[in-house]
Symmetry: C2
Subunit: 393 residues, 2 copies
Amino acid sequence: MSELQERAAELDAADPLAGKRDAFVLDDTVYLDGNSLGALPRSVPGRVADVIAREWGELRIRSWTESGWWTAPERIGDRAAPLIGAAPGQVVVGDSTSVNVLKAVVGAIRLAGEGRDELLVDESTFPTDGYIATSAARLTGCTLRPLAPADIPAAAGPRTAAALVNHVDYRSGRLHDLPGITAALHAAGALAVWDLCHSAGALPVGLDEHGVDLAVGCTYKFLNGGPGSPAYLYVRRDHQPRFDSPLPGWNSHQDPFGMRPDYEPADGAVRGRVGTPDILSMLALEAALEVWDGVDITTVRAKSLALTDLFLEATAGLGLEPLTPSAHAERGSQVALRCPDAGKVMGELISRGVVGDFREPDVLRFGFTPLYTSFTDVCRAARVLGEVLNDRS
Amino acid sequence: MSELQERAAELDAADPLAGKRDAFVLDDTVYLDGNSLGALPRSVPGRVADVIAREWGELRIRSWTESGWWTAPERIGDRAAPLIGAAPGQVVVGDSTSVNVLKAVVGAIRLAGEGRDELLVDESTFPTDGYIATSAARLTGCTLRPLAPADIPAAAGPRTAAALVNHVDYRSGRLHDLPGITAALHAAGALAVWDLCHSAGALPVGLDEHGVDLAVGCTYKFLNGGPGSPAYLYVRRDHQPRFDSPLPGWNSHQDPFGMRPDYEPADGAVRGRVGTPDILSMLALEAALEVWDGVDITTVRAKSLALTDLFLEATAGLGLEPLTPSAHAERGSQVALRCPDAGKVMGELISRGVVGDFREPDVLRFGFTPLYTSFTDVCRAARVLGEVLNDRS
């Protein structure tokens, strides 16, 4: 056993989250793609089977009230809220991340008020945020200005309505300075909208603590909600009374079953709802969130950093340039390595039981989910990567 | 056995769709709420269990390609397309009806071009369409004009960009004149956007035949896709190259995994996609659509009219005013009856095994799903309604 393997075994033995691995369906694969699609929690299949057979099959329409379907978006929002540092009543689950970006950005521009007609956007953003921000700017008559997140504080000014920033960069794994950028935007009188897709469930976000205005995120990465599980929208409590959604669907009406011709928005997080929620996907997510019972996100963060530290150390001699910052304060829960022929290398890795993903043009991306990734997994992944590179040279 | 019961038994014996009932999970309840939430098709539970256990649990991220998850929205769109009279390549499944209304209405306004700044909307519409149309008008600088559908042909003029109309009124069950209204809008140079929520799966829609421009609809009513199953968007083939969505998410990009900063829309129906599709709900829908194999929608329509004819006849002596038109050409697949104390009457009906629903302020609404509702069910529902009214008087 190498020194690294010994150390990994010791770290696994001391890991307070080690027991959580049994809450997931896993096999011999080293699955380092939980930042793209989280593994299946064991709590999900039985719950969904019951939703289908009993709640839909037997109770049918009665389940909208009797099985709690109607209130699922806000109930599950409250369940996810502690993971992103939000007090209850501010998060609602539903729709895709892209749709929530439109709600959040148009909502932020309207909250910023007259005279602010500039929207800043993270220039390295996951593309959909940029596309939707462009649409939001066009629909509201704003100018879009792409910037590196680090340049946002200096750029925000009296015309800035809001900035849309990714908390963790999907490609490099860089963690952006949420507290600092948010504070700088506020100092300029602008709003901060954060995309938490690559941070929620992997590290503390602290939305309330840092006064974030609006936020969105998906639930199928570190939150393990399943393929395309619904995303969420956070609207800070004091903004809710003036939150003015571009998607004022009937589910966000004060009296949805009154079927009134005029729209009167509900109070609270419910105002972020739109149409009928996709109950199967949503209740699968609710079951998936059970794995977080008793988990402290600071413990998750500590393990995440230890995992990525170990992987960076174990791959340091392979001649691949890390895109992921070495400083803890700038690192999410993934490691991205530049690699010639990265697409083929990742294909070979997957065939040898180590699953990460490839991002154009030359990036190997490895995600580390602290709830089920072990330090031994990390060692094995690094070893197999070394073997693949060696076999190719 | 009464004369009506005898006739119902004869109609059931001669019903070409009678065998389809076994494709659903049903019990002793007379379920006349399939226009709100369709019953569970037997094809669904096993399929979803496999999607969860094998496709998500074992294959995980590989299922996006290997299990056909990525192409599900357009594949399932093509599967639903014949039911609404659309040739392949024009329908995409995903998001809620409300979200699709925004895409369709903003898309229609943009297709109509400069100088057309008036949006007409069905004044008796299901509320969410009206709320979202109001938002679409506001975001595009249009004026919204609510009108009775019958008044739309005369009202459409040189400033009209589009009209959004419900094919079947959710409350009264009235079927609006899709061919006539569409033709009148076209004569005025405007576009027709139809909401098919209460018609798809119950009667022929003929989108291509009648030259409809855009359409949306849900899949959880007569299409039995399950609670909150994804809705669909139809964009007529010749409009697709200029279709300009207000929700240009990454799933509608020409090269979604190229992760390019600039948005270049895909060709075809895919252009209507937005974010990551909710796979569990979507593949449940795909399984649910299997019940339509070998079913001709004209047979469905004939049975639907026979069912509602029988129910109107059987309830004619109860002193309740039908809101649903008696003319076949004006009737969807439901019967709405005005009834004092309708909420309490429906509660009592449900407790006696006949499930319809109540709509404010005084409407009993009964939906008839030709694939699983029998003529004997109709007789029993009418008899129990008579008993409930009698017991209250």
